[in-house]
């Protein structure tokens, strides 16, 4: 980073102060001294510089003149070859702004400062007296940030130690230093837990063997217990069988006694015993049922004899039915007939009245009523009549109206002035002129001409100092651009070459000067001649001879002295020779350097001559264009002028173009005007020759409008005449229709009694209505006549039928037919009731007789069966049979019991015959048996529970064995365990590698630091030696307990710690450390500005001069700014480094 310009816009006491630092020339010192009297603001400058770079602190003391919100600093900075303009305002965030005032990140400056923070930068390279000392002490103590910064940051390992620490922390995640924490322990715990789980789930082979053996033992025990229990059970069963059989034997004996009591009672066939109850029941039932059915038959026969019969009336049933059908017509006639007779009288009266109204009293209605067709025709004519009359009236009216209208339009046309002249193409011409708008076009062309003219004037003026008119511009001859461009490029090239050549020259001159200096140094040595050497050798030899002769301590000493002298002389000679050789080489090098200086000088001159020649060529081109142009115009300026000339030509062209367009518009305007005037003259509207176009256009338009109006009136008149003719013919048609109707009307009346005097339309309407009334009454009366005749016939038929019936059934005749009818009906009903009763009784009697004969059949069967039984038992009656049969039943049951008993006994004692069984029971006592069974039962209980226990424990051992299972639970756990093991192995290797790597890197870092520190130490020694004017030969690191301390080595011998040095010397030491650090830093990171505020106050002039020399050297690689309030310091700086820039702060 380099500071190109620093603006203290509003900061501390400064307002709008700008300090430019110019541009740096590569290879020459970039050293600046800022001079300012006391209170001029040097320390403010330093603080401003830091504030610019690292923000204005929240509580800045620099806000006394300009309040915080208005404080502002600015700078032009060069960072990595690029220029940046930045502004710093006082704000918490976004306080760094770019040239446009937009906030930019701090990263820009951070990069420029190579990552140094404020404290480090202030302590290292932005110093005042205080920070110089503080930082220096810190460096010496080799502790704190600064020490580390100086030795590490400068060596390119800004925060390597921190990184290594963080890596170490990272490694502790796996296993920390004490081994008490970390992932390894977690993995291990998981691993062990898995092992435990496996152990709990698994059964190992020996355990399995043990389980198997135990199972075998338990199985054997269970089997023997089972055998014992089974034996006891068998014994108990035997005992219980015997005691159960004893009662059976007793019972068998008893049954056999009872059986013997039945004697020789015959055994009835199978099934008889079962029939006994049914037969017994039938015996009683048969007798009862026979008696009941005989009684029922007799009762029915008696009842049938009591009911009478009327056959006479029943035979006449059909006739009665036929007469019944006539009865309803008779009843209707009796009620309706009087009503209908009355109605007929009323109708006849109405007919008579109607005839009278028509004026035809006495006439037959048939004769008066005309035919229907005639009536229709009459009605139609009546309806047409009113339409025909109306049409005639309307036609008459419309004719009158049309006639009036025709007269009116003829009048109006006449008033308007009749016909018009032929206007020719006037209308079309007016329309085309309006469309072209020649007046507007001309105005617009004029306006653009004015614009173009103004632009042209402007461009012409821009060609100054050249002066000329349009023609001169058009005639300008400009050179080809590429020619000028090439020339410009060549000139630039030549200029660059001159600069380069000059730099080379400067460098070579310096080199020559250095070589000169070095040569002087080497040649300044003292001399020991060969003669001296020979003398020393001779003396040594002599002393040796002497010593050999005497061999005492005195001679020995003397010989030693001589020998040492000889050695020294010999060594010096060797040294001298080496020096001589070096001197010779230096001389050669110097000569070489001088030669190269000369070469470089020639090169500079050549380049300058070339540039001169090129400049002349440019001048000739420029003056060739115009003598008015300045001969010493630069290529860039000439380029610009050529561009402007091109612009002027373009403007001129546009101006001419605009003018041409204006004249075109003028001519087309004139053409339109004259055309219109002649057209108007043709139409009979001649006008003055100089009438302008607008006025002529208006006049032409009014002529056209008038012609249009006349035409409209003529058209209206023609229409009205046409309408009048149409109306006249319509009236004629209406009159024809009317006369046709009159003749039709007369023809229709001819066919009626009105033929002699046809009535009017109104009369005819009334007559037609009356004729309708008459027709209705006439029809109604005819209908009534027909119905009355029918009713009288019905009445007579019924009366005849009733009379015939009465005679036939032998009843007396009555006066009224319906009363006689009533008697006949009643008698018929009675006869029918009796007849039905008889039929019913006859059916019931037949059924009773059938039942009776069935019962008799059954009784006969029963008697046959009972007599069979009686014969078998040899008894007389049914009662005895029953007794014998039931005894046989009892015996059979007893026999069954006997058989069962025998079977039970054999079964229980497991013998095949009853005799064997009874034999086994002989002499057995029930009491003894029971006692034995009881004791066996008790034993068995114990044995059974033993067996169960043995079985349970056997099952358990078997289960245990079964539980082992063939599943893969353990295998899966083992799998997991193995994976964990692998993970641990992998991580452990990584961990170890990382830890060992850290150790190795630590060691390497130590070595690296040692190496680099020694490099820095050499540089610092050199600087210190120079600044102390050789009073101190340099610096050395001395061990002090656990660490090393830096000491200054005095030229006269001995060493001093910093605390023992004088103020000035100590400041020189501290500065020397910074200078060494700066070089190291720049080498590794690139340059940052070095700023110092009067840190040489305690230096004397010579030392200050040395310090400036070092700073000037430093400024060849990075910018150095030194602030002072001593005028003589400026002088010293100037003397030491003539290229220094001195700036003055306003007082």
């Amino acid at each position: 980073m380099r500071l190109t310009c620093f603006d203290l816009t509003r900061y501390g006491k400064f307002t709008d102060l700008s300090l430019p630092f110019g541009t740096a020339v590569k290879g020459s010192p970039d050293l600046h001294v800022i001079y300012g009297a006391n209170e001029a603001g040097k320390s403010t400058f330093l603080s401003a510089w830091l504030d610019l770079l690292f923000q204005i602190p929240v509580r800045s003391p620099m806000g006394f003149l300009h309040p915080y919100p208005s404080m502002q600093l600015g700078a032009a900075l060069e960072i990595d070859g690029r220029s940046h303009s930045v502004t710093r305002i006082k704000k918490r965030d976004h306080s760094l702004l770019d040239a446009q005032g937009a906030p930019i990140g701090e990263a820009l400056l951070n990069v420029g400062l190579r990552g140094l923070d404020r404290a480090s930068y202030a302590a290292m390279f932005s110093l005042n007296r205080q920070t110089l000392d503080d930082g220096g002490e810190s460096i010496l103590a080799s502790e704190g940030d600064l020490g580390e910064l100086l030795f590490q940051a400068s060596a390119g390992l800004t925060d390597i130690a921190a990184q290594i620490d963080s890596l170490r922390d990272e490694s502790a995640e796996f296993l920390n230093a004490t081994g008490r924490k970390g992932r390894l322990r977690d993995l291990r715990a998981e691993f062990d837990a898995l092992g435990e789980r496996m152990k709990s789930l698994d059964t190992a082979a020996p355990e399995y063997a043990r389980l198997a053996k135990e199972r075998d033992v338990k199985q054997a025990a269970w089997q023997s217990a089972r055998k014992e229990a089974e034996a006891a059970q068998t014994a108990l069963n035997e005992t219980e069988r015997l005691s159960g059989a004893l009662p059976l034997a007793l019972r068998l004996e008893r049954i056999e006694d009872q059986l013997s009591e039945f004697g020789d009672l015959p055994v009835p066939p199978e099934g008889w015993l079962a029939e006994l109850p049914a037969l017994d029941r039938e015996e009683t039932e048969m007798a009862t049922r026979l008696e009941a059915s005989e009684k029922s038959v007799a009762a029915l026969e008696e009842e049938l004899g009591r009911i009478p019969q009327d056959t006479e009336i029943l035979e006449a049933r059909d006739r009665i039915e036929a007469a019944g059908k006539l009865k309803s017509a008779y009843d209707t006639a009796s009620t309706d007939l009087p009503k209908r007779l009355k109605e007929r009288d009323i109708e006849n009266q109405a007919i008579r009245v109607s005839l009278a109204r028509l004026g035809q009293s006495g006439a037959e209605p048939d004769a008066v009523l005309p035919e229907v067709a005639v009536l229709g025709r009459l009605r139609g004519l009546v309806e047409q009549h009113s339409g025909i009359e109306t049409r005639h009236a309307v036609a008459t009216y419309e004719l009158e109206r049309a006639r009036t209208e025709a007269e009116r339009t003829a009048q109006r046309l006449k008033t308007a002035g009749g016909s018009t002249a032929d206007l020719g193409g006037l209308g079309g011409l007016v329309q085309s002129i309006r469309r072209d708008d020649p007046v507007g076009s001309r105005d617009r062309a004029q306006a653009s001409l004015d614009d173009a003219d103004a632009l042209w004037q402007e461009k012409l003026a821009a060609l100054a100092p050249w002066i000329g008119d349009a023609a001169a511009v058009a005639n300008l001859v400009l050179p080809e651009r590429p020619v000028v461009e090439r020339l410009a490029a060549e000139m630039e090239d030549a200029t660059r070459k001159i600069v380069l050549q000059r730099e080379t020259l400067a460098r070579l001159e310096e080199e020559a000067a250095q070589r000169q200096a070095r040569l002087q140094q080497t040649s300044a040595a003292s001399t020991v001649t060969l003669e001296d050497a020979a003398k020393a050798r001779a003396r040594r030899e002599a002393e040796w001879v002497h010593h050999r002769a005497n061999l005492n301590s005195e001679t020995a000493d003397r010989f030693e002295v001589a020998m040492r002298l000889d050695d020294q002389v010999a060594a010096t000679i060797v040294d001298q020779r080496t020096q001589a050789k070096i001197a010779l080489e230096a001389e050669q090098a110097l000569a070489d350097a001088r030669r190269r200086v000369n070469d470089a000088k020639i090169g500079v001159k050549g380049a300058e001559a070339l540039r001169e020649k090129l400049a002349e060529r440019l001048t000739s081109i420029v003056t060739g264009v115009s003598p008015l142009l300045s001969a010493d115009m630069t290529a860039e300026a000439f380029f610009a002028w050529m561009t402007r000339a091109d612009d002027a030509r373009e403007a001129l062209r546009k101006c001419t173009e605009a003018r041409r367009r204006v004249s075109l518009c003028d001519s087309s305007l004139e053409r339109a005007r004259s055309g219109l005037l002649s057209a108007m003259a043709q139409a009979g509207r001649g006008m003055e020759k100089d009438t302008d176009l607008t006025h002529a256009l208006e006049t032409a338009q009014s002529v056209l409008d008038h012609a249009t109006q006349i035409q409209a009136l003529a058209e209206a008149d023609a229409n009205a005449q046409q309408e009048l003719a149409r109306r006249e013919s319509a009236l004629v048609t209406a009159a024809d229709v009317m006369s046709k109707w009159q003749s039709d009307w007369a023809a229709a009346c001819v066919d009626t009694w009105m033929a002699d005097a046809p009535p009017t339309v109104a009369e005819m309407s009334a007559i037609l209505e009356e004729l309708d009334q008459l027709r209705r009454h006439f029809d109604h009366a005819a209908d009534l006549n027909r119905r009355i005749t029918a009713m009288e016939t019905n009445r007579d038929q019924f009366a005849a039928a009733v009379n015939t019936l009465t005679a036939r059934v032998g009843m007396t005749a009555e006066d009224l037919p319906h009363e006689a009818w009533h008697h006949i009906i009643q008698r018929q009903r009675r006869a029918e009731t009796s007849h039905e009763q008889r039929i019913d009784l006859q059916k019931r009697l037949a059924s009773a007789r059938r039942t009776h004969s069935e019962i008799e059949g059954k009784a006969k069967l029963h008697r046959t069966r009972t007599s069979e039984f009686m014969q078998f038992f040899g008894v007389k009656n049914w009662q005895q049979t029953r007794e014998a049969l039931s005894r046989a039943g009892d015996r059979e049951k007893l026999q069954d019991s006997h058989n069962n008993c025998v079977e039970d006994l054999c079964d229980r004692l497991q013998t095949s015959t009853v005799q064997d069984a009874l034999k086994r029971l002989e002499g057995v006592s029930k009491t003894e048996l029971e006692a034995r069974a009881e004791s066996l039962r008790t034993d068995l209980k114990t044995l059974r529970s033993n067996q169960e226990e043995a079985h349970t424990s056997f099952r358990k051992t078997e289960d245990d064995l079964e539980k082992v299972g063939g599943d893969d639970a353990v295998a899966r756990l083992e799998e997991q365990r193995q994976t964990l093991l692998l993970e641990m192995e992998e991580s452990a290797r990584e961990h170890l590698q990382k830890r060992l790597g850290l150790l190795a890197v630590d060691a390497a870092l130590r070595q690296y630091r040692d190496t680099h520190r020694s490099g820095m130490l050499d540089r610092a020694s050199e600087a210190f030696r120079a600044m102390s004017l050789g009073r101190y030969s340099g610096l050395a690191a001395q061990p002090d307990g656990m660490r090393e301390i830096l000491v200054a080595l005095a030229a006269e011998g001995g060493s001093k710690q910093a605390g023992q040095l004088s103020d000035g010397t100590r400041a020189q030491l501290y500065l020397a450390l910074r200078i060494a650090g700066y070089h190291e830093f720049v080498r590794n990171n690139g340059p940052v500005p070095f700023v110092a505020d009067d840190i040489m106050e305690s230096f004397d002039d010579d030392r200050a001069a040395e310090a400036f020399r070092l700073l000037a050297k430093m400024s060849e690689t990075g910018q150095v700014i030194y602030l002072t309030h001593h005028a003589h310091v400026c002088e010293i700086a100037k003397q030491t480094c003539p290229e220094v820039s001195i700036h003055e702060l306003p007082a």
């Binding site: 390992l157 452990a988 150790l999 070595q1007 690296y1008």
Partner: protein
């Protein structure tokens, strides 16, 4: 076809798979009992092919195993074979001999386990007489040949020999019933069913000699396709061999050549591409891959520094595929051609290469002791079993560790 039998060996039942890929619980779930599944598949194969016998030439399980669950599982599978009418012939290998569960194991009667003395079992399969010869290891070690104990071949029968042998063996490994191929062929058997070596090898000839290899690889050292052998013998006595692959998971090393690559993203792409092709090129159900970055590469430092990123990239691809798993990503790049870091870190790298610290430095030893103290018993030997090994391993670890750290520092410097 006269008869068929399946020949396998080195089942190592319930011996766990060893791979960091199994840290993935899904994979662990699927291949957690891979050796069992594979063995069940062998039984399934026997039943499906309706073979006459299953021949197991030793090492049914690992010597260190004591779990009777393993034995029970084995019995169950044997029971299935017995029910299916398949005879089983077993010899004990070095691992079986050491096994405690061998003694407690109860196998169905149809399973013939040969004793420590050579026996011959004569059977008739589909009307052909077959003689099965075999001998079991009595001890875990069998330094001498067992061949001279075998009975001579039974005349007129198809003679099958079962032997667990390291064959001629490799130097540095203990010999197990050593013998040469020629010795075996001189016995005039028809088929030698061998076991012990985990890599498949087939030697055809008048005597067919087959080392079927382990049917389920257990770590990256047992990479590649694994198989059992289905042997069918024609009426004429011709032997046909079929290689059957029944493994649940297959291990594969994947070489990723980085010599020609100068760009980091290309390294990642090459790795991903390699993984995808590896999945395409191998048929197994689950493929556990260890990509090995090889070649001279200027990206060696970066690879060491970003090894974790490489692993996650590989992991992403693996997850997309679903049946591909990453064992770990091994970086075997040669930094020879790699551009050395410049500046301070470069200088430090040079210092580290010179070995600033000796392996027997007390600080180094202290680190090692601390770690070993907290490792489980099984891992005490991870650095080496003798002093020489330990010193060398520590030196390597230190150098590599330092390089990794410098790579990181270089990163933050750059």
């Amino acid at each position: 076809m006269a008869f068929k039998f399946v020949h396998t060996a080195d089942i190592h039942l319930d011996s766990p798979l060893k791979s960091l890929a199994l840290r993935d619980a899904n994979l662990a779930e699927m291949v957690g009992s891979a050796t069992r599944i594979t063995f069940s598949r062998i039984v399934d194969l026997c039943l499906a092919e309706q073979v006459q016998a299953l021949v197991i030439a030793g090492d049914l399980y690992d010597g260190g195993q004591t779990s009777m669950k393993t034995a029970r599982f084995l019995s169950q599978e044997m029971e299935r074979l017995t029910v299916g009418g398949v005879q089983v012939f077993i010899i004990r290998g070095n691992h079986d001999a050491a096994s405690k569960i061998t003694r407690e194991l109860v196998l169905p009667d149809a399973v013939k386990v040969f004793s420590g003395r050579a026996e011959v079992e004569e059977v008739t399969w589909n009307g052909h007489s077959v003689a099965v010869h075999g001998i079991s290891f009595r001890q875990p070690h069998a330094p001498d040949s067992l061949l001279d104990q075998f009975h001579p071949p039974v005349p007129g029968a198809f003679n099958i020999g079962l032997l667990h042998t390291s064959l001629a063996g490799a130097s540095g490994h203990d010999p197990y019933a050593p013998c040469t191929l020629a010795d075996l062929q001189n016995m005039s058997f028809d088929y030698w069913a061998l076991g012990h070596i985990h890599k498949r090898a087939v030697y055809p000839g008048p005597t067919t000699v087959v080392m079927p290899g382990i049917p389920q690889g257990r770590d990256i050292g047992e990479a590649g396709r694994k198989s059992v052998t289905l042997v069918s013998v024609t009426d004429a006595g011709r032997v046909n061999l079929q290689e059957r692959h029944l493994a649940v998971a297959q291990f594969e090393r994947l070489a990723v050549e980085c010599s020609a690559i100068a760009d980091w993203s290309d390294v990642v792409e090459t790795l991903k591409h390699g993984l995808r092709s590896a999945r395409r090129d191998n048929e197994g159900e689950h493929l556990i891959v260890r990509p090995v970055l090889e070649g001279k590469s200027p990206l060696t430092w970066r690879a060491h520094r970003d090894a974790d990123l490489l692993r996650s990239e590989a992991q992403v691809v693996a997850e997309q595929i679903g049946t591909l798993w990453i064992d770990k990503v091994e970086i075997a790049l040669d930094a020879e051609a790699a551009s050395k870091a410049g500046g301070a870190v470069g200088e430090m790298a040079a210092l580290v290469a010179d070995g600033p610290l000796r392996a027997d430095d007390p600080r180094v030893q202290a680190e090692l002791d601390l770690m070993l103290k907290h490792l489980p018993r099984e891992l005490r030997g991870i650095i080496g079993d003798n002093e020489e090994q330990v010193i060398e391993a520590l030196g390597d670890a230190m150098r590599q560790g330092a390089m990794d750290i410098l790579a990181r520092l270089e990163e933050s410097e750059g």
